[in-house]
């Protein structure tokens, strides 16, 4: 492995991960960083989402955001803050946070890890990649990514559940049901999650659908 690697923001992958314009630019994954989590997010247009609304409650990460370019409106615990380029926003775990671009071409650089613990690579990255490829029209690479995500954590239900979503959305009913059965076997809560998840609408009426 080389001692160092270089990449420009413009060279990072672009994965659209929601319907609100949020585009994920994987940084940790690009370099194979193991000591901390780091990603960038870009919004093409003002009004697009640039930080997903979440709390970091489960993984307990401290998170630092830096507005690289443009301007973002952060919502932090329901308070709105205007955050121009060159500004940091630090959130302790559990803090509700999210941001919408206030200018076209806004980029936010995010860094995170859990205090007092060796860093563990977040499981959501592989899933985001899979659905990112799917949204970019590359189903095959998406499927490879989701299979890799399952292989990394073969005993966790989330990988199978997301694989079931992926197969349902891509019209592979049998594969979707097989993955969902495995997820439910590992964690019965997957059944309830599947009932509420619109990704299963294409196969919900199938007699073999387990939820």
């Amino acid at each position: 492995m080389s001692a160092y690697e270089v990449a420009h923001l413009d060279e990072l992958d672009r994965f659209r991960i929601d319907e609100q314009g949020l585009v994920w630019r994987p940084v940790r994954r690009r370099f194979g960083i193991r000591a901390f989590g780091t990603n960038a997010y870009t919004a093409e247009k003002a009004g697009d989402r640039v930080v997903e609304e979440h709390r970091e409650a489960q993984n307990g990460h401290e998170e630092l955001y830096f507005v690289v370019s443009g301007r973002a409106t952060f919502t932090l615990e329901d308070e709105e803050h205007d955050v121009p380029a060159g500004t940091f926003v630090f959130c302790r775990p559990g803090t509700k946070r999210g941001a919408i671009a206030a200018e076209d071409g806004t980029t936010v650089f995010a860094m995170g890890a859990r205090a007092g613990m060796p860093h563990e690579i977040s499981g959501w990255e592989g899933i985001f990649v899979a659905f990112g490829y799917l949204r970019n029209g590359d189903e095959e690479r998406g499927r490879e990514a989701i299979e890799a995500a399952i292989a990394e954590r073969p005993n966790e239900w989330q990988g199978y559940f997301n694989a079931a979503c992926f197969e349902s959305l891509t019209g592979h009913k049998d594969a979707a049901i097989a993955h969902l059965n495995r997820a439910i076997e590992l964690n019965p809560e997957a059944r309830e999650a599947a009932r509420k998840d619109e990704d299963f609408d294409p196969i919900r009426d199938d007699p073999e659908f387990p939820a």
Binding site: Y4, V6, I33, A35, F36, F88, F90, R92, T95, R114
Partner: protein, 224 residues
């Protein structure tokens, strides 16, 4: 309970330092982040070093991001042109790295941590805070602060080196020579730095300086 979030611009986090060096923004300390290391440096003038040449004895993987301006990195002997928006990831802690700003106002953010280990804050950050006294010339206060920190982190090379610098500036020649020798013994990189460092101009002509920089025993002690 700490506040759930805080916001600060780069310029609000800056700490005054020696005019000859880049402005340091101690981001981790400002926000009291305990999960990873993060700092930023902004060049005051063209050609200024924004990341001083070093290796990561800490074992850190380090990610550098050029947040504004334009820098030239040198990593493991290779020169890298790094305009705004460039990431430079240095995986190998032993790889020598440095960055010089091509233009004043260039900012580099540095992130670090050790794979497989919980992050621990490093003594050099606290010692670097004392650099604000360089702007005011209050070197005796710098010596007092750094000496107190050395009691907590006795073998932090950067701290011992900065203490030697402050002692040199405040006329405490014997102490400066002893601590310079100690710093060089802890980290050989300080040998070269001390040769060029203006902080040691007051003691450079002392016959004991050469042996202190060479890290030889006996330097810094009063002569026979």
């Amino acid at each position: 309970m700490s506040e759930p979030f805080r916001i600060a611009s780069l310029s609000e986090i800056e700490v005054g330092g020696a005019p000859a060096s880049a402005r340091w923004s101690p981001v981790r300390m400002h926000f009291d982040i305990s999960a990873f290391g993060v700092n930023a440096w902004t060049a005051r003038e063209d050609g200024q070093a924004v990341i001083g040449e070093h290796t990561e004895d800490s074992g850190h993987e380090e990610l550098y991001f050029v947040a504004s301006g334009h820098a030239t990195f040198t990593v493991a002997g290779d020169e890298i042109d790094a305009p705004t928006g460039t990431f430079v990831f240095v995986r190998d802690p032993k790889a020598k790295r440095k960055a010089d700003a091509k233009a004043a106002g260039t900012t580099v953010i540095a992130l670090g941590g050790t794979p497989g280990k919980a992050f621990e804050p490093m003594g050099w950050e606290q010692s670097a805070r004392a650099l604000r006294h360089w702007a005011t010339g209050d070197f005796e206060e710098a010596v007092a602060e750094l000496s107190a920190l050395k009691d907590q982190h006795p073998e932090e090379p950067g701290l011992v080196y900065n203490l030697a610098c402050a002692e040199s500036r405040s006329g405490q020649t014997d102490e400066a020579l002893a601590h310079l020798r100690e710093a060089v013994e802890l980290n050989d990189d300080f040998r070269e730095l001390a040769e060029k460092d203006e902080d040691f101009d007051p003691i450079r002509e002392d016959p004991r300086f050469a042996s202190a920089v060479a890290g030889q025993a006996g330097a810094g002690r009063p002569g026979p």
